[in-house]
């Protein structure tokens, strides 16, 4: 090629970008996109604020509306403190799954506005737009968890393990949130409008999070649902976080049906999340490569 851009004066010639290995380029591109999404978060604080209000509402509603009536097995009935401690891991876990809707809506919006076309016409790493988005969502999820933990402490949630174990519990929750944001990315790439991505990202979360051990112990459910609930990846994370926070209840068996994930919740939760990331990242990146607005 001889006609390398005379347009606009002393522009950098082609290939100014130092040749980079695939991985280095992927990481760098993903960080550029993540930075873009974080700037957006700062400029549209409403989104972050609503994301904070919702779980706080859940904590307050569950604690004060249901808390008095839901008997935690092994605890004296009406023991609100026992339910509070039982509940928090569930609320935390439900909160991180909302990252799905955020990622989905954001990516659908980018498609709609033609930004995905622009990104796809650039010599950037193929997965970077999605990785950048999910990383930015991870930051928002972490922020939400911090605020939510403070609220939980204020209304009487207590951990009975050392701080490292508690941090590991939050790590497990964030890993699940990150995994779910990849599901959201795939939804966002598959629907036509940001509105569809928001509702499509949310509806399936309700059965997923309610048919689980998050809000009520599974012993009260029909046998069939007990199996579903105990194999639900979401339950594994709730049980894992509960264990790491020291919020399990003495004398209550970990599992009703003997499901393996309930016997080893921390490991099971990590495995589930890694598996979800592996599957949905692959699907989402493949979808991105052929995406059309």
């Amino acid at each position: 090629m001889s006609a390398v851009g005379h347009a606009g004066g002393p522009a950098p010639a082609l290939g100014t970008g130092r040749p980079r290995g695939g991985l280095a380029r992927s990481v760098r591109d993903a960080l550029v996109v993540a930075q873009r999404n974080l700037i957006r978060m700062v400029r549209i604080p409403e989104v972050v604020i609503f994301a904070l209000i919702q779980p706080i509402m859940f904590v307050v509603l569950f604690t004060y509306v249901f808390g008095g009536s839901i008997a935690v097995p092994g605890a004296p009935s009406g023991d609100a403190q026992a339910y509070r401690e039982f509940l928090m891991a569930g609320i935390f876990a439900q909160t991180v799954t909302f990252a799905t809707a955020g990622a989905g809506a954001g990516i659908a919006d980018d498609m709609h506005k033609g930004l995905i076309d622009r990104f796809r016409s650039l010599p950037m790493s193929r997965g970077a737009v999605l990785t950048g988005r999910t990383l930015a969502d991870l930051v928002q999820t972490a922020l939400t968890l911090v605020v939510l933990a403070v609220v939980a402490l204020l209304i009487g949630w207590r951990s009975h393990h050392n701080p490292l174990s508690v941090l590991a519990g939050f790590g497990l929750l964030l890993l699940l949130g990150y995994a779910f944001s990849w599901i959201g990315a795939l939804i966002g790439l598959s629907v036509r409008t940001p509105e569809a991505a928001t509702s499509g990202g949310l509806i399936w979360l309700f059965p997923l999070t309610f048919v689980s051990n998050a809000f009520v112990p599974v012993n009260g459910m029909p046998a069939f649902l007990q199996h579903v609930a105990e194999w639900n990846p979401f339950s594994a994370t709730v049980a894992g976080a509960r264990e790491l926070f020291g919020n399990t209840i003495a004398g209550v068996p970990r599992s009703v049906t003997g499901a393996w994930p309930m016997e080893h919740p921390v490991l099971a939760s990590a495995l589930w999340s890694v598996l979800i990331i592996a599957v949905f990242r692959t699907l989402a990146v493949r979808k991105y490569r052929s995406a059309t607005a």
């Binding site: 090629m1 001889s2 006609a3 390398v4 851009g5 005379h6 347009a7 606009g8 004066g9 522009a11 950098p12 010639a13 082609l14 290939g15 100014t16 970008g17 130092r18 980079r20 380029r25 760098r28 591109d29 550029v32 996109v33 930075q35 873009r36 700037i39 957006r40 400029r43 549209i44 506005k113 033609g114 930004l115 076309d117 622009r118 990104f119 796809r120 016409s121 650039l122 010599p123 950037m124 970077a128 052929s290 059309t292």
Partner: protein, 368 residues
């Protein structure tokens, strides 16, 4: 030697729709090709294939000498794309948008910042550089989008309907920018629905319809095929149609048409503005009261009628003509937005190409 943009036999189907049906293109380095056609003709699909966004079912393409299908990433380094929508992040400032794009073109942080500042200056966005793009006007967003496509000064540029939806002033400003760019040696493929735009910017024009190139040549060659100019008169009193018809028949180079409903007469002519003046004097001399008169040059509609026998109807390309209504892109057929009503200004003769053309297909039978 194949040109900077070279495509052979591109075919792409979407379900039942054959969006591209064997498109061949050859754009020599440093020239501008205008891809002219109605919505749904396959213009955007062609651009998407050439810019690596879409894989064709069949055919091959080279851009800047690089095989689009075999080395898409290398092609992406050599091209800039400016689409139908201003694809900028509206919550980022103009500067942040350009720096981001620069970094994704694999520039270093400092280079990306320097280049962003240069482009903002050049596109008249320096004052607004640090405002979020959502505060920009439509024209400013288009300029920012174009600047983003020029971050690495790519040797080959693609612009998909760059001025659709812009008002005339902003369209003019964007044309100036594009001309400057081309003067610098960039090879450009431009899609448009406006013959005037292709006329102004393109060295060569390909007319596309239903996924095929149905004609190619310079603007003059196409116009010659289309049947040249004609004079259109709208008389005030229907009773004077006959008299006016005699006047026009005297200068006509072929059969004209008359429409009593709109009191409109149209005849093909050669001789341009001088002839128009003559006709006006003659009509005036015979006491014919005129509501509107103009010398019409061929429009995209005319080119289409001449080439295909059907008008360039607005097709179903989703969202393609989603303008802001300020100009003439607002979803109608090509250029219908500029329609002048009868009795509105008669003085701009040649410039007013398509005054009052409701029912264009029926009044133009004699033109071919």
């Amino acid at each position: 030697m194949p040109g900077a943009i070279y495509a052979e036999g591109l075919v792409k189907t979407f379900g039942e729709v054959r969006a591209l049906d064997g498109v061949d293109l050859d754009v020599p380095e440093g020239t501008v090709l205008g891809l002219l056609g109605p919505n749904g003709a396959g213009k955007t699909t062609t651009v998407r294939v050439l810019t690596t966004l879409l894989r064709p079912d069949r055919g091959s393409a080279h851009v800047a000498g690089i095989d689009v299908l075999a080395q898409p990433d290398a092609v992406r380094r050599a091209i800039g794309l400016s689409g139908q929508f201003a694809a900028v992040d509206e919550y980022l400032t103009g500067r942040e948008n350009l720096v981001m794009v620069g970094r994704l073109y694999q520039m270093g942080g400092r280079d990306a910042k320097r280049r962003a500042a240069e482009l903002l200056e050049r596109f008249g966005l320096a004052d607004a550089a640090d405002r979020p793009a959502k505060t920009y006007s439509g024209g400013m967003r288009r300029r920012l989008d174009l600047a983003a496509a020029l971050v690495v000064s790519p040797p080959v540029m693609f612009m998909d309907e760059p001025t659709t939806g812009l008002d005339p002033r902003n369209r003019q400003a964007l044309w100036d920018v594009i001309q400057e760019l081309v003067a610098g040696g960039t090879t450009l493929l431009l899609t448009t629905q406006y013959l005037e735009e292709a006329d102004r910017l393109a060295h060569d024009i390909c007319v596309v319809d239903h996924g095929r190139v149905i004609a190619r040549g310079t603007s003059d060659q196409l116009k010659a095929r289309t049947g040249g100019e004609r004079i259109e008169v709208v008389v005030h009193d229907p009773g004077q149609l006959a008299v006016a018809g005699q006047v026009l028949d005297a200068v006509a180079k072929g059969e004209g048409t008359a429409d009593p409903h709109t009191r409109r007469l149209t005849v093909p002519v050669t001789g341009g503005a001088r002839l128009l003046a003559e006709v006006i004097r003659e009509l005036d001399g015979r006491g014919v009261e005129i509501d509107d008169i103009g010398l019409r040059r061929p429009t995209l509609d005319d080119v289409f009628i001449a080439l295909t026998g059907h008008a360039a109807e607005t097709g179903a390309e989703p969202g393609a003509a989603e303008g802001d209504g300020a100009g003439d892109g607002g979803g109608g057929g090509p250029r219908t937005g500029r329609r002048n009503g009868p009795g509105q200004g008669t003085g701009d003769g040649t410039g007013r190409a398509d005054g009052g053309r409701s029912g264009a297909t029926t009044t133009k039978e004699g033109v071919r």
